[in-house]
């Protein structure tokens, strides 16, 4: 059922000015995104797929540093009244050298269906990133050892993505994704930021054909994101709130 989530997969950009905060909104969180966060952060996002049924995908998370290493703890939930799939995650990243990072997510999954037994599973994901001045390459291996509730019911996914920064305001991204449950997906994104407080992204998936846009506004420590997407099976609306705590 997690496969429904990935249909909301969007390519979100990496705005240098915004301390990578847009990456936090990704449906499939690559732990290497944690690299570079100097301040503690609390954030939450909600994507509504179907208001009538109450079908939504939401996440609340916190990023903090422990012994100079960034960590994230997160809770993510997908579903509606009679079906809820939850994931508790802890993520961290290791700097290999000035350009490369290796990260890991440890996940605890919980599946609750009305009139049915609750199911639990443990899984892990691996992320790798390489960053140069102009571009960034990322690999993400989700659940590579096929952890499961019963049999082949947890998603396994492989994502290769790259982002290129044309200048300090404009960037583009390309993502190739292979999923065990939904197959191949290719998507790209253009993002533009204006004076460190306003940004706009155009999102498009080539296969399957989906598109949308996202706007972000930043005011001091608070950032607000809003997004609308036309997916193959529904239209979705999403919001996110990111709050940066004081350094001390």
């Amino acid at each position: 059922m997690m496969k429904l989530i990935q249909l909301t997969c969007v390519l979100m950009g990496l705005f240098a000015h915004a301390q990578n905060t847009e990456n936090l909104l990704k449906t499939h969180f690559n732990p290497t995104h944690l690299q570079g966060f100097e301040t503690n952060i609390v954030y939450s996002r909600v994507t509504i797929f179907n208001r009538e049924f109450g079908l939504h995908d939401s996440k609340i998370a916190s990023i903090f540093k422990l012994q100079d290493r960034p960590f994230q703890v997160a809770y993510q939930q997908y579903g509606y009244e009679h079906f809820k799939e939850s994931k508790y995650s802890i993520s961290t990243v290791q700097n290999l050298n000035s350009k490369m990072n290796l990260g890991v997510n440890l996940n605890f999954h919980h599946l609750g269906i009305t009139d049915s037994e609750n199911l639990k599973a443990l899984s892990f994901d691996i992320g790798y990133s390489y960053k140069s001045e102009k571009y960034e390459i990322r690999l993400f291996l989700e659940n590579p050892l096929n952890s499961k509730y019963i049999e082949n019911d947890l998603e396994s996914r492989f994502i290769v993505s790259g982002e290129y920064y044309w200048n300090s305001n404009l960037f583009s991204g390309l993502q190739l994704e292979e999923s065990i449950h939904t197959g191949f997906k290719a998507s790209h994104q253009f993002g533009y930021s204006y004076k460190d407080y306003l940004s706009l992204s155009i999102l498009q998936s080539i296969h399957p054909l989906e598109y949308g846009f996202r706007v972000a506004y930043k005011k001091e420590r608070v950032q607000l994101y809003s997004q609308y997407q036309i997916l193959t099976w529904t239209n979705s609306t999403g919001f996110a709130l990111i709050y940066q705590l004081a350094n001390d």
């Binding site: 350009k99 690999l139 049999e151 996914r157 492989f158 290769v160 292979e178 065990i180 191949f184 296969h207």
Partner: protein
């Protein structure tokens, strides 16, 4: 047996391990289809028997290495034909990238005057083991006669006066090293003589035959893909230490050269495997499988005459072939081959006859425009009763019984951009009981390649359509980047579109080497998603292991290898490969069944050379 291995190890402890990583990376980037286990055997052969650049008849064998572009080949060939070289380093004066020369450096030589070519003793050895877990049903139920470990030993050495010796001994998982009544399992012992006089070559043992364009015989390494625009036959017979258990000959071969004429004679006697048809699997692990081992005699005797004159080559071969598999026991096969160079136009063609009844032909014209463009037209036809067991010519139907017109175009826009486009229209010559009785089809292949020192990008498209069958579209994307002097990364995307279905796989390979290049770590991950069509997966190069698979279904595969140069003579490696399937509870059927949807394979090797 342990003692024998120990002696081999000790005897050769002062050697340098040969590493083909540079060559492998080049081929992987240029055309992944060229990579298979046999190409390493070709490289091994030419390490042991390097090509004399001052010998015009040997010179064109550089092509067989598949390590140079057409332009680089032409430059080297014409330079070497125009003058006698004193050193291979003179090639640096040509307009060829130094990296290209480094790739072929170990395979070429210039003889030092008054010094025999075999003055330096060369020896190399390889020992590899492979096993997997969980074990197969055949092992668990004790159906397999041998141990669940695959082992492979290879040894080559030069002897005195132009002779060299090779040994290859391999057993597959579940097979014994020695069959109680049938002797050693897949063992080869080769003796090779290479001379400078009239007698140029003598081979005893296992060898390959390649005649003309390969309409009758082409068992040596050769790429059967239509991008192979400009194939030119090189050696007629070549010793092989490959572990292949089919598609080779066993016996004796010799070559004489008198002025511009080569005379090759060869004879082979071997027992083929199989009952009603030839068993090409080479797997004899159970008593039932063993009943298929070496059941039918196959004999062959042949002669080939070849004359080179300036830019022209003519050859005739006559072969008597005899096999208990066929009702007609003796077949007389003839091959007529000619090639002619006229400025920028090259013609080559082969016509073959079987008992003066059945025939096949391949006629080809290549035209190069400046150094950057190449145009090729080809006509091929093969009648439906022609001998078919060892052919290597390119064909669209798997049996090769077809008539076809093929044309291809290749253009280098500049040093970085390359474009290739190929059309192939074919019609079957083998009648079908249902309509269409002689199905027609066509193929299109195109490549767009961009190569710089740091990045490589390839976009490939293939289309195949056969009458009354579904058409198939295939896309392949390859991107590679040198992240630093020590790290290389690439990713490959395969998309197959059949009817409305899309099958895909996404793979990334990661290569790391230490500063002193003594340690290498490779990592690969691939997620695949198919149903009826299989997707080709290749892990990073790991010496001695067939690191490629055709994957069908849904799942992922991970490979991690570590290779270390222990000292200047010894190299060792270990690899772990895991496959997880998501669409099945068990892998395989019968004795090969593994009672799990996941399996792990371990490989280790030790390699040495002086």
């Amino acid at each position: 047996m342990t003692r024998f291995f120990s002696i081999l190890l000790l005897v050769n402890l002062s050697c340098i391990a040969q590493d083909f990583t540079r060559q492998w990376i080049y081929l992987e980037t240029i055309d992944e289809q060229k990579l298979n286990a046999d190409i390493v055997d070709v490289w091994e052969y030419y390490i042991q028997n390097p090509i004399n650049l001052n010998d015009s008849t040997e010179l064109y064998r550089i092509r067989e290495l598949n390590l140079l572009s057409e332009k680089e080949l032409n430059l080297i060939t014409s330079h070497c034909q125009s003058q006698q070289l004193i050193s291979i380093y003179q090639l640096q004066t040509l307009d060829i990238q130094i990296e290209a020369l480094k790739r072929i450096k170990d395979f070429i030589y210039i003889p030092i005057k008054n010094k025999p070519i075999t003055a330096t003793n060369k020896a190399s050895g390889y020992f590899g083991l492979q096993f997997q877990t969980p074990q197969r049903n055949g092992t668990l139920n004790r159906e397999y006669i041998g141990s669940p470990i695959k082992s492979h030993l290879r040894y080559r050495t030069t002897l005195k006066k132009g002779w060299s010796l090779g040994l290859n001994w391999e057993k597959d998982l579940g097979e014994p090293l020695w069959y109680t009544d049938e002797g050693a399992n897949n063992i080869t012992l080769n003796l090779i003589y290479k001379g400078e006089g009239n007698m140029r070559k003598v081979l005893l043992g296992k060898y390959d035959i390649s005649i003309g364009e390969g309409l009758l015989f082409g068992t040596s390494y050769r790429i059967n893909n239509p991008y192979f625009l400009n194939y030119k036959p090189t050696s007629i017979t070549k010793s092989t230490l490959s572990s292949k258990e089919y598609n080779y000959f066993e016996g004796a071969a010799a070559q004489w050269r008198i002025r511009n004429t080569n005379l090759n004679i060869f004879a082979s006697h071997q027992n083929l495997n199989g009952k009603s048809s030839i068993d090409k699997s080479g797997l004899f692990r159970t008593k039932t499988e063993l009943e298929n081992r070496k059941t039918f005699e196959e004999n062959l005797i042949g002669i080939q005459l070849e004359r080179h004159h300036k830019q022209n080559t003519f050859s005739w071969a006559g072969i008597v072939y005899n096999s208990e598999f066929y009702e007609t026991k003796n077949r007389f096969l003839q091959s007529f081959y000619a090639s002619n160079n006229y400025y920028n136009i090259t013609y080559s063609g082969e016509f073959v006859l079987q008992d003066l009844d059945d025939w096949a032909t391949l006629q080809k014209l290549d035209i190069s425009v400046s150094d950057n463009s190449l145009f090729s037209v080809q006509f091929r036809s093969r009648s439906d009763s022609l001998f078919n067991e060892y052919r290597s010519d390119y064909s669209s139907f798997s049996n090769g019984y077809e008539s076809a017109v093929y044309y291809a175009f290749q253009h280098n826009f500049n040093k970085k951009w390359l474009f290739r486009l190929t059309f192939d229209h074919f019609k079957s010559n083998l009648i079908k009981t249902t309509e269409p009785h002689f199905p027609k089809g066509n193929k299109i292949l195109s490549d767009l390649m961009w190569i710089s020192e740091q990045r490589k990008f390839t976009l490939q498209y293939q289309y195949k359509n056969i009458e009354n069958l579904n058409y198939i579209n295939k896309f392949r994307l390859f991107y590679q980047e040198e992240l630093s002097d020590r790290i290389r990364w690439n990713t490959k995307l395969n998309l197959i579109i059949e009817k409305a279905n899309i099958y895909s796989s996404l793979q990334s390979n990661y290569y790391w080497k230490s500063l002193n290049e003594k340690n290498k770590v490779n990592f690969s991950f691939c997620l695949f998603n198919t149903e009826s069509e299989s997707i080709y997966w290749r892990a990073p190069y790991f010496y001695g292991s067939y690191n490629s698979r055709f994957l069908t279904g849904k799942g992922n595969t991970t490979s991690l290898s570590f290779q270390k140069k222990i000292d200047r003579s010894l190299k060792a490696g270990m690899q772990i490969t895991q496959i997880n399937y998501y669409d099945r509870e068990v892998i395989g059927t019968g004795n090969e069944m593994i009672d799990s949807n996941s399996k792990i394979e371990f490989s280790v090797y030790l390699k040495w050379k002086n």
